[in-house]
C-alpha cells in the first residue's frame, strides 16, 4: 500500500469529521438543525448523492502497487476494479456506444484488398457481427438487462436493510413503518445503484461515453475526476479553516492593534488578484519539482504534489472572506451578556475564546464550508483551462473540458468528453449547492426564525 499526501490528508479529514460528529452527537443545540436537515427531502436526497460521490472518491484514495504485473505505476482500488475500463484503449476518438472509430483510415482486409473506411473498435461493441442491424437492438437489450439486474440488486439490498432495521429496533415496531427521510434516502440510493450498475454493466461491452483523443475511455476519466474535485473542495477548507478561525476570532475579540494587523494582512492578500497569486505559486512548484527530480520519479507522485499545493494556495487565497465574517460575529459576541458575565467572574481569556466564542461562531464556519465546496469544484475547471490548475496528467473535469474544447471545431463535432464532464460536474455541484442551502436554512439563526 502506498499513501500519497492527499490520501493521508483525506483520511485525516475523514477521521476528524467523524470525531467531531461523535462528540456533538448528543448535544441538544445540534439536534434541532440536524432534525431540520433530515426533514428536508431535497437535503436528504442531495446528501445521499454527495455520499455516493465521496464513496467513489475514497475508493480512489487507497493506492497500492500491483504486485503481479510488470508495470510499476501506482494504482488505486478503483483502478483495480475498473481494470477493464482502464485497459480497453482504442486508437483514437470514438462516439458513445459506437462500434467504429471516429476517423477513417486505411484498412487492409485479410484478402489483401486495401480500402479507406472506419476501422472497427478493438473493444467497444466487439461482440456484434453486423453493427448496422444489431447495434440498436443490442444496446436496448443491454440497457434493459442492466437496469433489471440493478433493480434486483436494489430489492435485495432493501430487504436486507429492512430486516436489519427490524432486528436492531425494539420489538413491536412494524417492518414497513418508514419515516419520510428513510424513504427518500432509500429511493435515491436505489436509483443511484440501479443506474450505476447499468452503466458498469454496459461499459464492459461499449464505451458508454466514447473515447478521447488517445483512445482512453471517457467514462473512466469522468469517474477518476471525482476524486480530484472532492480533494480540491475539501482539503482546501482544511487549509483555510485554521487561518480564518484563529485570525478572525482574535481580531474580533482583542481589537486594537491585533485587529489592525490582521485586517492589514487580509486586505493585502485580498488586493492581489487571486488568479495571479495562484499562477505565481504554481510556477514556483514547477521550478521546485524540476530542481528535485529524484524525489518525483513517479508521474502520480508529481501530480499529487501539485494537487496538494493547489489546495494550499487556494486555501491561502480563500480564507479572507470567512475571516471577515468571523471577525464581525466575534465583535458582536464580545459584547453579549454571557461573555461579559464570564469576564466578570474572572474566566481566563483563552477559556472565554474556547468555551464561549468558538462554539457560537461554528455555524458560520459550517455554512461557509459547504458553500465554498461547490465554488471550489467549479474553480478547478477554470484554473485547469488557464493551465494553472491540476497537473495535465491528473484526471479532472477541467482537463477533460480543456482537451475537448479544441475539438469543437471538428466536423462532426466531438461532443462526448464535454458532455460527460458536464454531467458529472453538474450532478456533484448541484447536489452540493442544494445541500448547502439546506444546511444554511437549518443552521442560520436568521433563517430558522421564520
Amino acid at each position: 500500500m502506498v499513501v500519497l499526501w492527499t490520501d493521508a490528508l483525506i483520511y485525516l479529514l475523514l477521521i476528524s469529521v467523524l470525531l467531531v460528529a461523535l462528540s456533538l452527537r448528543n448535544k441538544e443545540h445540534m439536534q434541532r438543525p440536524l432534525r431540520k436537515i433530515s426533514q428536508s427531502k431535497i437535503g436528504i436526497a442531495s446528501l445521499v448523492i454527495l455520499l455516493f460521490f465521496v464513496g467513489i472518491g475514497l475508493l480512489d484514495s487507497i493506492h497500492f502497487k500491483p504486485s503481479d504485473t510488470k508495470n510499476t505505476e501506482i494504482i488505486s482500488v478503483l483502478d483495480y476494479w475498473a481494470t477493464n475500463l482502464r485497459e480497453h484503449n482504442e486508437k483514437t476518438y470514438s462516439a458513445p456506444f459506437s462500434t467504429h472509430l471516429y476517423s477513417k483510415e486505411i484498412i487492409v482486409s485479410p484478402d489483401g484488398a486495401v480500402h479507406w473506411d472506419y476501422q472497427r473498435l478493438d473493444f467497444g461493441g466487439r461482440h456484434i457481427y453486423l453493427p448496422e442491424h444489431q447495434l440498436l437492438p443490442d444496446i436496448a437489450k443491454k440497457v434493459a438487462f442492466g437496469l433489471v439486474q440493478g433493480i434486483v440488486i436494489d430489492c435485495f439490498l432493501i430487504v436486507v436493510f429492512l430486516i436489519m432495521r427490524y432486528k436492531l429496533s425494539k420489538k413491536g415496531s412494524s417492518l414497513f413503518s418508514l419515516s419520510t427521510r428513510t424513504k427518500t434516502a432509500l429511493v435515491v440510493s436505489a436509483v443511484i445503484i440501479a443506474v450505476a450498475y447499468c452503466l458498469i454493466y454496459l461499459s464492459s461491452f461499449y464505451h458508454v461515453f466514447g473515447t478521447d483523443k488517445v483512445g482512453e475511455d471517457v467514462f473512466y476519466q469522468a469517474i477518476k475526476s471525482i476524486r480530484t474535485g472532492l480533494v480540491l473542495g475539501t482539503l482546501t477548507t482544511l487549509v483555510m479553516l485554521p487561518l480564518a478561525i484563529i485570525f478572525g476570532i482574535l481580531a474580533g475579540f482583542f481589537g486594537g492593534w491585533v485587529d489592525d494587523v490582521i485586517q492589514y494582512i487580509y486586505t493585502t492578500l485580498n488586493a492581489i488578484p487571486g488568479v495571479l497569486l495562484i499562477a505565481a505559486s504554481i510556477l514556483m512548484v514547477q521550478v521546485y519539482m524540476a530542481g528535485h527530480e529524484q524525489a518525483f520519479t513517479s508521474i502520480i507522485v508529481r501530480a499529487d504534489t501539485r494537487l496538494l499545493f493547489l489546495c494550499l494556495i487556494l486555501g491561502v487565497t480563500n480564507w479572507t472572506g470567512l475571516c471577515r465574517l468571523l471577525r464581525a460575529e466575534t465583535l458582536k459576541l464580545r459584547e453579549m451578556e454571557y461573555v461579559q458575565a464570564a469576564r466578570a467572574l474572572g474566566v481566563k481569556q483563552g477559556m472565554i475564546l474556547f468555551r464561549h466564542i468558538l462554539p457560537n461562531v461554528m455555524h458560520i464556519v459550517l455554512i461557509s464550508v459547504v458553500l465554498d465546496f461547490s465554488s471550489l469544484v467549479l474553480a478547478e475547471a477554470v484554473l485547469s483551462y488557464i493551465n494553472i490548475g491540476v497537473d495535465p496528467t491528473t484526471y479532472s473535469w477541467g482537463n477533460m473540458i480543456n482537451g475537448a474544447r479544441l475539438e469543437m471545431a471538428r466536423e462532426p463535432i466531438v461532443w462526448w468528453s464535454l458532455s460527460a464532464a458536464f454531467l458529472f460536474m453538474f450532478t456533484l455541484v448541484l447536489a452540493a449547492n442544494l445541500f448547502a442551502d439546506t444546511v444554511q436554512d437549518a443552521f442560520d439563526p436568521r433563517r430558522s426564525a421564520e
Binding site: I386, R405, M408, M425, V429
Partner: protein, 325 residues
C-alpha cells in the same frame, strides 16, 4: 469629510507597500532569477553562461536588496528591488521579458477590457435586480419556486460550459455573430454582443439569488409594514420604499469592483480573442513572462485598493447614518 478621505487614502499606502513586498518575495526570492532564466531557456542542458547572458539582457543580474560593490546612492538603486519593484509605485512597469513596453501595452489593452466588462456589469445588474424584484413581488407562488430552482441549476453550471455552449450555438450553428475576434470603434459591437450576453446569463443564477435575499431582508422591516398599512399596494411599497433602500448595499457593493473592470476577464477574453488585459495576463502566465505578471499583480491591487477607497466614500455619501470617525 476631506479629512476622512485623506486618512483612508493614507491607509492605502501601507497596503500597496505590503503587496509590493509580497510580490517581490514571491517572484525574486522564492523563484530566483536563475530559476526564471532556466524556465525561459528550457530546463535541460542550460549552461551557466547562457543563464548569465539572459539575466544580463533582462536586467536581473543585480543583487536583490543591497549592492555592496556600487558607490554611495547606487548601493540601493543598483538592485533588483529598486529597479523592478519600486518603479511600480510610479506606474513605471518597465519592459516585459519579451522586450515590449508594458505600460504602453496596458494603456492600449484596457479599453477593450472595459468595453466588455462595463456593459456586462450594467446589463447584469439590471437583469438580476428586475428578476429578483419579480420573485419578491410574487413570493410564495410558483413563480418564485421555479425561479429559485432555475437559479440553483444555473449556478451549478461551470462558466466554461456557458461560453463553449453559447459559442457553439450562436456563432457556429446559427452564425448570428462571429465566433471570436475584435475590431476598433463601433464595429466591435458584433464581437462583443455574445460575450456580454453570456456574461450576463452565467452570472444571473447567483446574482438573482443574492439580490433576492437582500430584498427579502428589507421587505420584513417595519417601515414596509407601515407603508402597507397606509394603504400602499405591494407593488408601490416595493418600488417606492424597498428598492431605494436596498439599492444602498447594492451600489456600494458595485463600487468595489468598478476599478477592477479594467483588468478584464481572463477566460471570456481568451475564448473570444478580445485583446484586453485579461487575455494579456493569460498569455503572460502561459509564456511565463514574469515581468508582465508582476505588473498586473500590482495594477490589480492598486485598482482594488482604489475600489475600497471609493466604497468608503460612497458609504458616507449615500448613507447619512455612517459616521466619519
Amino acid at each position: 469629510m476631506i479629512q476622512y478621505i485623506i486618512r483612508r487614502f493614507l491607509y492605502a499606502i501601507p497596503l500597496l507597500i505590503g503587496v509590493n513586498i509580497l510580490t517581490f518575495v514571491l517572484f525574486f526570492v522564492v523563484n530566483s532569477p536563475d530559476d526564471m532564466a532556466r524556465m525561459q531557456l528550457g530546463q535541460k542542458r542550460v549552461t551557466e553562461q547562457s543563464i548569465n547572458n539572459w539575466k544580463q539582457q533582462h536586467g536581473y543580474n543585480l543583487p536583490l536588496l543591497w549592492n555592496a560593490e556600487a558607490q554611495d546612492q547606487e548601493k540601493v538603486t543598483q538592485t533588483i528591488f529598486y529597479q523592478k519593484s519600486v518603479g511600480l509605485f510610479l506606474f513605471r512597469f518597465g519592459v516585459s521579458d519579451s522586450g515590449r513596453n508594458i505600460g504602453a501595452d496596458i494603456q492600449e489593452r484596457m479599453w477593450p477590457s472595459l468595453a466588455l466588462a462595463l456593459p456586462t456589469l450594467v446589463l447584469g445588474l439590471i437583469v438580476d435586480i428586475s428578476l429578483a424584484l419579480m420573485m419578491v413581488l410574487y413570493r410564495n407562488s410558483y413563480i418564485e419556486r421555479t425561479g429559485l430552482v432555475l437559479c440553483v441549476v444555473l449556478l451549478s453550471i461551470s462558466s466554461l460550459f456557458y461560453i463553449i455552449g453559447g459559442q457553439f450555438i450562436f456563432a457556429k450553428v446559427l452564425k448570428w455573430v462571429p465566433i471570436s475576434g475584435y475590431d476598433d470603434g463601433f464595429s466591435a459591437i458584433k464581437f462583443l454582443l455574445l460575450p456580454i450576453i453570456i456574461g450576463v446569463f452565467s452570472g444571473s443564477g447567483s446574482g438573482v439569488r443574492w439580490y433576492r435575499t437582500l430584498f427579502l431582508e428589507e421587505v420584513e422591516k417595519d417601515y414596509v409594514r407601515t407603508a402597507r398599512a397606509k394603504g400602499l399596494t405591494e407593488t408601490q411599497a416595493l418600488f417606492k420604499h424597498v428598492l431605494p433602500n436596498a439599492l444602498i448595499p447594492i451600489l456600494t457593493g458595485v463600487v468595489v469592483i468598478l476599478p477592477l473592470l479594467f483588468m478584464g476577464s481572463l477566460i471570456m477574453e481568451s475564448f473570444f480573442s478580445i485583446p484586453g488585459l485579461g487575455s494579456y495576463t493569460l498569455d503572460a502566465i502561459n509564456s511565463q513572462d514574469f515581468a508582465i505578471v508582476r505588473s498586473m499583480v500590482f495594477l490589480g491591487s492598486v485598482l482594488y485598493v482604489f475600489g475600497l477607497l471609493l466604497t468608503d466614500i460612497s458609504y458616507t455619501w449615500v448613507d447619512p447614518r455612517v459616521r466619519l470617525s
